[in-house]
């Protein structure tokens, strides 16, 4: 019988939540790495027992932990993230040049085909790759070498590379996104990159349609249709049908088009989920009601999903890496909040229940569907 393992990164450790396919009763394991910030935990699709975790602290810096037994035990692997060559500068908040400085790993993306290969998106924005299970890291410096690198600027949360999407059909293609530079695509395995921000409109930058400078919060794709991308931007929910060459807005009837997460149903490529957040100044749900919004039409037409979610006095946030889906049928949808709740729906969002209520603030949620 299938099982589900939810990997939760929080401000004070990692937690693993496991259930059978009914997804009704959950076992909680953790905290792992108690007291440390765990930005992201993700398992290898090739070997689900291989799990990587990004562990960091203002005191002790960055560590990468690896488990080869499904999270029962962990070993620290390589944590040397050194920019390739002379790092150069990007823009600081005041517009002056600022040297590139490594701060932390925001996102880990294991290869779709090789359990030893894993990508890391870091702050200050850069993409690293390890081909030996996380022991050694090498920058794919063509990304920072994109001619726009000197014009990239941090968002309020830092200049993090937070989204890495690997194309399951074309192994040479991947997408990344950076706050607040925008989205980029490589078609040659990471050697060269193209800014894919045409169609984005950001009123908060001097040129709202500039090549770079857009605060992309998250991009999602369905593996059966990797040229179709969905984006939650700082404001606006966007869609591209041509691998990011052109975006169009699909915010439609959302109560607010600000938010962080976006994800796609495991079996319905046109069914997408977002969690609207009132504004960038408030960072909590409108009207104190926590609601997921689902579109079954690939955007524009959205329905509120609120069965089982707090209907009043709820002022949590849902951060960009804190939503995921399983691949069971019906599809399970999961998200975590800054209030420490992890909510799950075992029926594609129709009804929700908390798996856990009182974790530290949740930074990331990933799901493994296990045979």
């Amino acid at each position: 019988m299938s099982r589900v393992r939810v990997l939760v990164g929080t401000r004070k450790g990692a937690f693993l939540l496991t259930s059978d396919a009914k997804r009704e009763k959950w076992e909680v394991s953790g905290p792992h790495f108690g007291g440390w910030e765990i930005y992201h935990v993700k398992g290898s699709p090739v070997n689900p027992d291989r799990i990587y975790a990004s562990q960091s602290s203002g005191w002790f810096g960055q560590l990468i932990q690896r488990s080869d037994d499904g999270g029962r035990s962990w070993e620290p692997v390589g944590n040397k993230f050194t920019y390739d060559g002379v790092p150069g500068t990007h823009q600081w908040y005041d517009g002056t040049p600022h040297p590139w400085e490594f701060k932390r790993v925001w996102h880990l993306e294991p290869s779709l085909t090789d359990a030893e290969t894993v990508y890391a998106g870091v702050e200050d924005a850069a993409l690293f790759r390890s081909a030996d299970g996380g022991q050694n890291w090498e920058e794919l410096s063509g990304l920072r070498g994109h001619g726009s690198g000197a014009r990239w600027q941090p968002g309020a949360g830092g200049m993090g590379l937070h989204t890495i999407l690997l194309d399951p059909v074309n192994a040479r293609r991947m997408y990344i996104a950076i706050s607040a530079a925008g989205a980029f695509r490589t078609d040659d395995g990471g050697v060269t990159w193209t800014a894919i921000n045409q169609g984005l409109r950001s009123q908060y930058i001097p040129d709202p349609t500039a090549e770079v400078g857009h605060c992309v919060h998250r991009i999602a794709m369905h593996p059966s249709r990797p040229e179709v991308l969905f984006m939650q931007k700082h404001w606006d929910v966007m869609r591209s049908d041509n691998a990011g060459d052109l975006w169009r807005e699909v915010s439609g009837n959302l109560p607010t088009d600000f938010g962080f997460v976006i994800d796609v149903h495991a079996h319905e490529p046109e069914t997408i989920y977002v969690v609207p957040i009132k504004s960038d100044g408030e960072h909590y749900p409108p009207d104190g009601k926590l609601r997921v919004y689902r579109s079954r039409t690939g955007g524009n037409e959205w329905e509120a999903l609120e069965n089982g979610l707090p209907s009043s006095d709820c002022y949590v946030n849902v951060l960009r890496d804190a939503m995921a889906v399983d691949s069971l049928d019906p599809c399970g949808v999961y998200f975590g909040t800054t209030g420490g709740q992890v909510y799950a729906s075992s029926n594609a969002g129709d009804r929700w229940a908390p798996i856990v209520r009182d974790l530290p603030a949740v930074l990331s949620v990933e799901v493994q569907t296990l045979a």
């Binding site: 203002g58 005191w59 002790f60 040397k80 050194t82």
Partner: protein, 98 residues
């Protein structure tokens, strides 16, 4: 033998006791003590000082013999009491963050 006291999180990371003892070849300085520490516990590399620049991480301090040695040169000899093992070399995490 040089005695080194680690903060709690680094003990957990290294799976070490609060105080570890190290053989340090040659002159006993911050640099040689930390080199020996990282050689014994490779997972501590990067957690106390930067991998490349070898600069102390900003929220850590080095104390010994009732003195803050954090701003001493990395190649300056440590106090005799540390060299003889009478006193430990402390790696301290700053009390910060609210």
């Amino acid at each position: 033998m040089i005695r080194v006291v680690l903060p709690g999180h680094l003990r957990t990371l290294a799976r070490a006791e609060a105080e570890v003892t190290l053989e340090v070849a040659g002159e006993v300085t911050q640099r040689t003590v930390l080199d020996a520490l990282e050689a014994r516990y490779p997972m501590l590399a990067g957690a106390i000082r930067d991998h490349v620049s070898k600069q102390r991480r900003p929220f850590l301090r080095f104390f010994a013999c009732g003195q803050d040695l954090s701003h001493e040169l990395p190649d300056a000899p440590l106090p005799d009491a540390v060299i003889t093992g009478a006193e430990p070399f402390f790696v301290i995490g700053a009390i910060a963050g609210g």
